[in-house]
Symmetry: D2
């Protein structure tokens, strides 16, 4: 082995085979909490999806998720001529695979009605078949009896709200009054509903992002870096800690380059993602420093103060060089355009470089 | 802003414009040292390269490097009919750009002769024109007088050694005896020379990786994740700390999915890259655990002990699930196939999961 | 609309939604024949696959195929606790989708036995349930009675032939004697079996390439340009013309950058892919000309005659510049390394540029 | 060679080395004309560019262009402290490389003044140094004396027209009156100027698209499929035929997914790109047929007639399935949103499928 070696021949491409590797999603933990990446809305051949339940585990494992729920429709079963209805089948099939791959599998089902009240996922349930009952209110009650987290799905879905605007009807208010509603989807697949942020803040509900995938994740999101996912800030990486965090509403919604959620989680999340270096050079006019964004989320800072850069883009996993005029006296305050904290609000931050 | 919004329309692709962002190369620091990523062999139009010196700064900044040296040939000037010879021109042109972009620019030049002794880079020099003298030994002496780090370039280059085997001639031994030779290229562009590892260990020289680029980095390495680079373990991110570390030989050579260097640096580097989790599941037959590789370097573990997995691939930036039979009694020892520590040696490691 | 417009804002990325578009696979027709791209070996949830039958149609449509066969195992039904056995279900479900998407759906099934005789696909059948009988010979007879094309699958599969070498047993010879065997897989997923070429030439059988996919095509072949496919040279793009061509053995096997098959099809296929331009420049020493490869298949020409280029690579969809010494007197003969025409043979071609 | 072979090991990735291959840009010829792909605005180190002239030839060859012009500024020479001014140097250096690579090199220079009149490229010249004179009108005259094609560059460039609106000043009208102005840039790098279409139609000028590249093409356009280029419809692929076609104004401007130009060229170009198949299926309600787009340009058909699909996207190199209601009686007329034929006009086409 004394000769020179053309490197290209030594190590041929090693492909990721099967379910072998979990991608690392670069998102920071929050102080005191572990950030779990979750998708709580997925379908299989046991309702109107097109894949076997174990496919959902494999996809989530490779994508770097910590938890998923398979939530087949209880009332919509277009494949019943070929597959007998069994509302717990997907759970039974996927459970051991999830265990082997260290993925938290949340038992779930989708209660599927016209609007109002629309579609709801019952999460953390024990027996989906007991929820498949005629009256939707009875279905809610059966889910709650099992300790379910109730999530209102895609409230502005055009098939149910042609103008795309989510509306609270009497039954939604009744659910809230009973303490039965726990979260709402802010992102569903490639849509999002700004008004959900108002509802969640008003009634103290969890802000959720899910894929609602029926086909193949890698085909649906091949042009995106990631599917929609809920970031849950849990005390540990366990099923029960996840459940506790969800009921406590400690979540952010994440898709593509957008984060949505309450300021109390969005603000520390932002500051955990970035770090601002000390100036490395200055001259008569300007100060030079760097901002490191260690996360997979880019941040778009806009509306800078007078004499400061009007906008700063902090791409994912990169270091951004910033040159600031010495005339700037005010703190470097910015709006973070892609961190949505309200129906018409984005996160406000300050960049401190000294 | 109450309606649903199709996300794809909100934030159009934000491209990295110009020199704005430095990519983060995910490689760990070593205890007590910062890992600087460096390319000490680059050409411009001031010898036989095809780009202006500032292009080298921009490329290195975007690629996430910490330091470069522009090392135009002193004796080979094919563009002299159009560009008058000025051995310090590239340095003068690139210096302020490097400063503005927080990149360490090492002043260098390439002493270019037939074999023996071949090509040498003089790094950390002060005036390249004083090194452009007739006698190669005088050139070495002039470089050393300026405090240069002397690096032997591509010792197995086929144009100078048709069989690709590096050889030490009388002049190389004389350089070593004088303490004038400080490092040798193990990787040059897409080649590497196993025998260099023997020379570097025997004479206590730095193991180096450089691109030796004449054209455009992004074109040459478009199918690779990175160009060849020298990892230098320095006490701080400064020109002088870099120089100290180079003379102390605290380096590893890195290209594609290969690391080459002395075991004293390769071993802690490997253990800083990976972390082994506690078992998350076990049954009668097997124990399940995960190995996290937080770095951009994949690791190929081979030659496992009896009953253990024969090989384990740890892709870059991912978590690998490992299932080990309970029959394994010995420590989980492996050879790391792509971490080269000698002419015929690779790094040996142990995976401890309990 | 008088102002300048930054183009990036005008037309946002238009994604291919759902089943809308068929990719064009750039492969030439042969004189008198249309080249149909086919995959005759696919599984669904109705045996041990993980997707619904319509997924196979959607994948094939997007991939640019002309025909597929869904060939679920008759005798291996691991999902039977959840899905009742119905050997024609996949066909019934996929048929109307295939019609809507202008894809030829071949009715098929896989006869699944230990070696000998191994696994066989019965293609162009009418009722798979009649083939699900105890005796394998009776199964063959039932398939033939329906007019089936019988294809021997992965004859060197390591689970059935640990050394990877295909072997003909008594039953294979009996099938051939009866005229019941019509083709053999040369490529199956990422494997190929050189000896199959000998069998196919000796007994005049069709050379076949299939994916044998159980999961998701886009995940299995994400690092490849295409799945394995059989190129069938048919008189028209219809089910019956496809069937006629298959029984006539007018096929080539195609995967990645490899073509396998009989010289009578491989040779005209190669010459339809490339065109050689007239010299565009010459000087005292050399002649310059270009070779255009209009197809998706690269060609690697090796073993050039004396004074000619030793090898010429013709990448897919590109024009290659060739400089030939005027000393060359012999015709520019080459072996095409990646066009396999026999167990130890590759295609021989001549490049004529004048 | 009897054993099965894992294909991935046989043919390792073959990379395109150096200048070896010209990509095929899939764009049709027009009846009677060959479509030449050209970039007439490029800079090198001989003005304010950052690369050596031969780099421009290599880039254009790999990108699949037929012709380029290197057009360094005559009056702006920021590198003159290091590189003596020689206005013909780039031409002299690049000429033999262009010849060897079968690329048409157009001799050019950029006349560089404040607005009015702004920047102009003189193309097809013989000696750039004779055009480097004090008076801009004298410069124009010197160029015209050499037979130059005069091209007005980026007329809405914000540095010269802060509102981005191109304006004709007295000198422009004088140029036109003299017959000295022959073309205007519609696309310059990532900008385009709708008003240019009005000027070109009014004064019968060529519509031009150029990159105006100063750095590295592959870095500037890494997120695009192609750089901006002028499609010239020439009688043959020669320097003189190109010149004839340019003066005759037979051009289209092409960048990303946009085509701009006069209807007389845009309309036949569109119909050469697509072909409409006969219906392959129909039922009581609908007719199914396919549209093939063999080109690299996607087409976005919008504003469909009543009952027809409102819009049809024809992605590049793909076949699009169209389902049309039988209620449609009018011809299938569409606007092609991305084929710009006037300041406020796009191409109108009819899809005939019977």
């Amino acid at each position: 082995m004394k000769k020179l070696i053309i490197i290209i021949l030594l190590f041929a491409a090693v492909s990721f085979t099967g379910l072998g590797q979990r991608k690392i999603i670069n998102l920071p933990d929050l102080p005191g909490y572990i950030t779990l990446k979750c998708d709580f809305h997925l379908h299989t051949v046991f309702s109107d999806g097109n894949v076997w339940p174990t496919v959902r585990v494999g996809e989530a494992f490779r994508d770097g998720l910590d938890a998923i729920a398979i939530t087949d429709h209880l009332e919509y079963n277009p494949k019943k001529d070929f597959i007998p209805i069994d509302h717990n089948a997907a759970w039974k099939i996927a459970e051991s695979t999830a265990r082997d791959y260290n993925l938290i599998l949340v038992h779930g089902a989708e209660i599927t009605r016209d609007m109002p009240p629309g579609h709801f996922n019952a999460l953390f349930i024990k027996d989906a078949s007991l929820i498949a009952v005629d009256s939707v209110w009875d279905a809610f009650a059966a889910a709650i009896k099992q300790g379910a987290f109730l999530q209102w799905n895609h409230p502005g879905w055009k098939s149910q709200q042609p103008d795309g605007i989510p509306r609270m009807y009497e039954m939604h208010h009744r659910l809230i009054k009973n303490g039965w509603l726990h979260g709402i989807e802010f992102f569903n697949h490639t849509e999002y509903y700004p008004l959900v942020m108002t509802f969640c803040k008003q009634y103290n509900l969890a802000v959720i992002a899910n894929s609602d995938n029926h086909g193949v994740i890698s085909e649906k999101y091949k042009d995106q870096t990631n599917r929609p996912m809920t970031l849950v800030f849990a005390k540990s990486r366990t099923h029960d800690a996840l459940k506790e965090a969800m009921f406590a509403g400690r979540t952010l919604a994440y898709f593509k380059d957008m984060i949505g959620g309450k300021e109390e989680y969005a603000k520390p999340f932002f500051y955990q993602c970035i770090s601002v270096g000390k100036p490395y050079y200055e001259n008569e006019k300007s100060i030079y420093f760097e901002i490191t964004n260690k996360s997979d989320v880019p941040f778009y800072l806009v509306n800078g103060v007078a004499e400061a850069p009007a906008s700063i883009t902090l791409p994912a996993n990169s270091v951004t060089r910033v040159v600031v005029s010495k005339k700037v006296t005010a703190p470097l305050a910015y709006d973070v355009k892609n961190v949505i904290t309200g129906e018409d609000e984005v996160l406000k931050v300050v960049v401190s470089f000294k």
